[in-house]
Symmetry: none
Subunit: 234 residues, 2 copies
Amino acid sequence: MTGRGTGPVVVLVEDEPQMRRFLRVALEAEGYRTVEAPTAAEGLQQVAGHNPELVLLDLGLPDGDGVDVTRQLRTWTTVPVIVLSARGQEGDKIAALDAGADDYLTKPFSTGELLARMRVALRRAERRDTPADAVFELDGLRVDRERRLVSVHGAEVRLTPTEYRLLALLVQHAGKVLTHRFLLAEVWGPGRTAQTHYLRVYMQQLREKLEADPARPRWLRTEPGVGYRLHVAS
Amino acid sequence: MTGRGTGPVVVLVEDEPQMRRFLRVALEAEGYRTVEAPTAAEGLQQVAGHNPELVLLDLGLPDGDGVDVTRQLRTWTTVPVIVLSARGQEGDKIAALDAGADDYLTKPFSTGELLARMRVALRRAERRDTPADAVFELDGLRVDRERRLVSVHGAEVRLTPTEYRLLALLVQHAGKVLTHRFLLAEVWGPGRTAQTHYLRVYMQQLREKLEADPARPRWLRTEPGVGYRLHVAS
DNA sequence: CGGCATCTTGATGATTTCCTGATGCGGGGG
DNA sequence: CCCCCGCATCAGGAAATCATCAAGATGCCG
């Protein structure tokens, strides 16, 4: 990755080096991180690999049409795509937009307008990122992942970020046994899959906050030698 | 309502009768139902009254700026807004887009492109759930997003623009936890998602102005390590 | 050019969360 | 019977995050 910082990641699919450089400089000055791809094939790869917040896509690529790239992307991702093109024909615009592009800018365009349209696309995308079926409920235990709220028999429970992540994982795979290794990798990163002690401490804290009798857990069951599990049956 | 059928409802805010007629005919031929408004004030009313799927907004209105109309709308609804303008200056575009518009078309534009961009906006807006009311009230806290008025137990509270934007976001997602990153991106732009200090300062100011006891907030709750939330339950 | 409102930035103490070590408990094998 | 191992439990200090106050910087308006 070329850019630094913590801003959104943008994939630039553009064959002309000069244009690429211009975009990279402009975007990085605004705090974006950029990934560059000079061809359609590489563009698809980079999007798949980096899972960016936005894609800037040139229509005239050496190895394929930008419209096809858009159609390809739309089969598996809803990442915002802004098309940049030298062609300003109505037909081109309609084809690109109907293929799934979010906006269409005709070269030459002003940097300010590009940035403004990028902000629009990011704004829209941010709002859509919330799945609606995010409420889990089981026998008094309620986990609302949209609001990030947890309650037991109606009483709201305050969880720390780590506690919540752990619980969210268990809920997501309700009923299944999750190994120590898996939980550690997901919550603390792949680096510390040996610190099983972390898990014990946080499971204890979760039980303390959620279970009526923490010593005899109803939901947060231990699977000795393997890991933990959110028990679903009665 | 002028249009027939069951298609999406579109509010046309446009003072020129000829242009209005042209749009109405073009849209109804595509199956849209149209509602017309010749002024900014009437436009706001029609949007509030019809809860349309889309708004087409002319910038040059007799009784106010279209950018202001957009900003007004955005304080309480996320309905897609496409701006139509005779002015093609970069500054106009950026102002409108940053005020919350989803797209900006410079007159004269082709009908085909307009319809394609409308399809994009409708596609993007799909599967969302903001039956947002223009006036939010909760237990003495009142936020009128149509008039941009905030009051606590009847007493009006003066908020700075940034304070209001922050509060409006919290109100729009009342009950949900909004992450630092999200709030910063919405209020200060995607570039400064690391300046959590801004948030602390402004949350403090909001609490100072709204809460009876700023140190023990009733509405503006901190979610440590995550973000902030407008508390709705008891 | 002030004056005013607002936004930004810095400094400091309080609070919350995280990590870590110590200790207790219980079952299985020697 | 005792030791060892995995798990549970408790608690204290380190680190990160948050609240608070206030002083500069900025921009706007007359």
